[in-house]
């Protein structure tokens, strides 16, 4: 195939650019542990209330500045809601849905995960800056989807 020299340069640059994207993505994911939320545990979506740890949703202190939040998502609420943690704490969220597909997004952070019925999703975030963070469902889940929100207060 006959190709102009400048075309070859362009194609090399294009290919190189995509490879750089790949490299950075992979490096961040595997070297810095910045993998997207990908937990693989499963659960019976109709028996969430009877299955540990979701039989007792809530917030537990598990170490110095470290908390675990076990949360269920259902139309149209987060349980527990209105979470409070001190500034500088690392929070491990363990999430599942009791009905349809929900989104778990905390505005102004990179916390963002899909929560599927039948699957247990896990995601961790460190909250350094004090303030009130808006937690919302970002996957359409029904007529009250726009009301599905709560807050995380960092003091």
């Amino acid at each position: 195939m006959k190709m102009h020299l400048d075309e070859k340069i362009w194609l090399t640059l294009s290919f190189g650019m995509i490879m750089i994207f790949m490299f950075i993505t992979g490096y961040q994911a595997f070297a810095y542990d910045m993998e997207p939320p990908s937990n693989k545990d499963i659960i019976d979506p109709q028996k969430v209330d009877q299955t540990a740890p979701f039989d007792k949703p809530g917030i537990t202190k598990i170490g110095e500045n470290e908390y675990e939040v076990v949360m269920t998502l259902q139309v149209f609420s987060f349980n527990p809601g209105n979470i409070e943690v001190p500034a500088g704490s690392t929070v491990h969220f363990t999430l599942t849905s009791k009905d349809v597909v929900h989104g778990f997004e905390v505005a102004e952070t990179n916390l963002n995960a899909m929560v599927m019925p039948g699957h247990v999703q896990k995601i961790t975030q460190k909250f350094d800056k004090p303030g009130t963070y808006l937690v919302l469902c970002n996957e359409y889940c029904g007529a009250g989807h726009q009301m599905m929100s709560t807050t995380i207060t960092v003091k």
């Binding site: 195939m1 194609l11 939320p37 963002n112 007529a143 989807h145």
Partner: protein, 560 residues
């Protein structure tokens, strides 16, 4: 010498006879439905935009999510399928010497099935029994009629795909050793994708959802359903894109008085897009549970790979523009752009569409990488991205096509008045999209979610800070509806009222000294096998994990 002569003869015959009445009627019907879908879908879009900005309270009998479901279905399913099929059937009729009667019948059966399917899907939406969105994720369950309608639409599309395969195969049988004409080659690629891309969603709907929504089986595997959906969902949007690309490579060079860029490169781009497309949908699941990070990383690679043929296209297009403009006396490093026919809507609309694809494509690359996706996943940013890619790059190219295709099939001409109207329409659409898509991107980065009616989350300060952007979005939406009205007026005018006359089907010739295209580009059997291997590579592992390591399924829910 001889081929030049026969080509000349064919051109003359085409000029003398144009498209046959039967083929013209087929395309006209498809295009008419497509533009009616734009009109209805556009009006629904405006309603949503105004509601989302807090400017419009919806009446109690209509729900925001009902409107959103109808808007998505009208524009993403009806408009795409009808425009793409109408356009490529006209292209095949023109470049392959008229449609075979059998093929035409198949396309009409497909037309009927799709219309019936659409009506069946719309009734439950209007009744409020199917506010499940374009993605209809289980375990949200609509009325069974909604899914039966969707299945009929898919079968209708298959009829058209098989019709196209028969048409092309027939031509190849009669033209042994020749290359399929480029526009029909594009059509082949598009119909291959339409067929193979819709197989997963057909399996999802027919095998999984319909029995479950009727209550014959109690539960459904939500992750398998979702994965099958996206194998189709993203392929569909790339099918539009490939359709638009066909006009960029084949039509636009002719309109500006130039020639086509490398025929081999064009065919390689088509093959690459076909082979790599179906797996691209997986990036919709980057933040899903149940998939290991290594599988997700492999999918980042597979999604990003689609960017490569697009970058090749970017090169080819600007090379054609520069070459043509310089031939016409354009000077300077970038001064040549003054020689482009900016006042011709048939050029202006696809040109702006191509320029819009630069930021749109960059946005696509951003969201198919793991960590960036997590920032924007399911926010308004995504909505901004696909209004820029589909609403601007693709739909505006379709608008540009309509200014010669509609007069061509109607045996009428594009008048200077309609051309001027088209230029104004193009600019209104451009400004509207910049406003709307721009503010969507911005507010999405700040965290505003998609698919959500107007809410301040109980006057939350963060949510309140999004309101100015949402107002900006509504301004864009208002400009866009003006654009829709002008465009539909222009199409109706060109279809039924413009002066009679002959309009050319603009297909650019190859360069005079073009190198011969290698024949391996014609081996579709091989490309389809490779495509299936790529699909298997992408989906066998996650799907078998979802099936083997499956949680107990979910019963249906109606949450609206």
């Amino acid at each position: 010498m001889q081929t030049a002569k026969s080509k000349d003869l064919k051109d003359k015959a085409n000029r003398a006879m144009g498209i046959s009445k039967e083929d013209a009627l087929l395309t006209k019907s498809y295009i008419f439905v497509a533009f009616m879908a734009i009109l209805l879908g556009g009006i629904l879009g405006l309603v949503q935009g105004l509601n989302r900005a807090g400017l419009l309270e919806l009446p109690s009998w209509v729900n925001y999510y009902q409107v959103l479901t109808a808007h998505g279905l009208l524009l993403v399913v009806v408009l795409t399928a009808f425009f793409t099929i109408g356009y490529f059937y006209a292209g095949m009729s023109h470049t392959l010497g008229g449609l075979l009667p059998k093929v035409r019948t198949m396309a009409w059966i497909g037309f009927g099935l799709k219309i019936i399917g659409f009506v069946l899907a719309v009734i439950p939406i209007i009744m409020g029994d199917a506010s499940v969105m374009y993605t209809f994720y289980p375990p949200m369950a609509a009325a069974p009629m909604f899914y039966i309608g969707l299945a009929l639409i898919v079968v209708g599309v298959w009829m058209c795909a098989f019709g196209a395969f028969i048409q092309v195969a027939n031509w190849r049988k009669n033209h042994k050793g020749q290359h399929v004409p480029i526009l029909s080659y594009f059509a082949t690629g598009v119909f291959v994708l339409l067929f193979f891309g819709s197989v997963p969603v057909a399996v999802e709907v027919i095998v999984m959802i319909i029995p479950w929504s009727f209550g014959w089986v109690e539960t459904i595997n939500v992750m398998v359903a979702r994965t099958l959906f996206w194998a189709f969902g993203h392929t569909l949007v790339n099918i539009w894109y490939l359709t638009a690309v066909s006009a960029w490579y084949v039509i636009v060079p002719k309109i500006i008085g130039g020639r086509r860029w490398s025929d081999t490169l064009t065919r390689v781009v088509i093959i690459a897009l076909v082979v790599m497309n179906i797996t691209g949908g997986f990036h919709h699941q980057i933040v899903d549970p149940g998939i290991s990070p290594s599988v997700k990383f492999m999918h980042v690679f597979m999604s990003l790979a689609i960017g490569f043929p697009s970058l090749m296209t970017a090169w080819a297009m600007f090379a054609v523009f520069e070459k043509t403009a310089r031939k016409q006396g354009g000077k300077g490093l970038i001064g040549w752009y003054k020689k482009m026919p900016w006042g011709d809507v048939r050029f202006l609309a696809p040109m702006i569409a191509m320029i819009a694809f630069i930021p749109a494509g960059a946005g696509g690359i951003a969201q198919s990488t793991n960590q960036l996706d997590q920032v924007v996943h399911n926010t308004m940013w995504i909505v901004g991205h696909f209004h820029l890619t589909l609403g601007m790059s693709v739909v505006m190219t379709f608008f540009g096509i309509s200014y010669w295709l509609v007069p061509y099939i109607s045996k009428r001409v594009l008048t200077p008045q309609i051309n001027r109207l088209g230029v104004i329409q193009t600019w209104i659409w451009t400004i509207g999209m910049i406003f709307m898509s721009g503010s969507m991107h911005a507010v999405g980065l700040l965290g505003s979610p998609r698919r959500t009616s107007f809410t301040t989350y109980g006057d939350n300060a963060t949510a309140l800070s999004w309101n100015p952007y949402l107002l900006c979005l509504a301004v864009g939406g208002t400009l866009l509806i003006i654009g829709v009205l002008l465009q539909v007026y222009a199409v109706i005018n060109m279809m039924f009222f413009a002066p009679k006359g002959e309009t050319e089907f603009p297909i650019a010739e190859e360069e005079e000294n073009a190198t011969k295209t290698p024949y391996w580009t014609e081996r579709w059997g091989m490309w389809i096998v490779i495509m299936l291997l790529v699909v298997a590579m992408a989906y066998v592992i996650p799907l078998s994990e979802f099936i083997v390591n499956a949680p107990p399924g979910s019963p249906p829910f109606k949450t609206w």
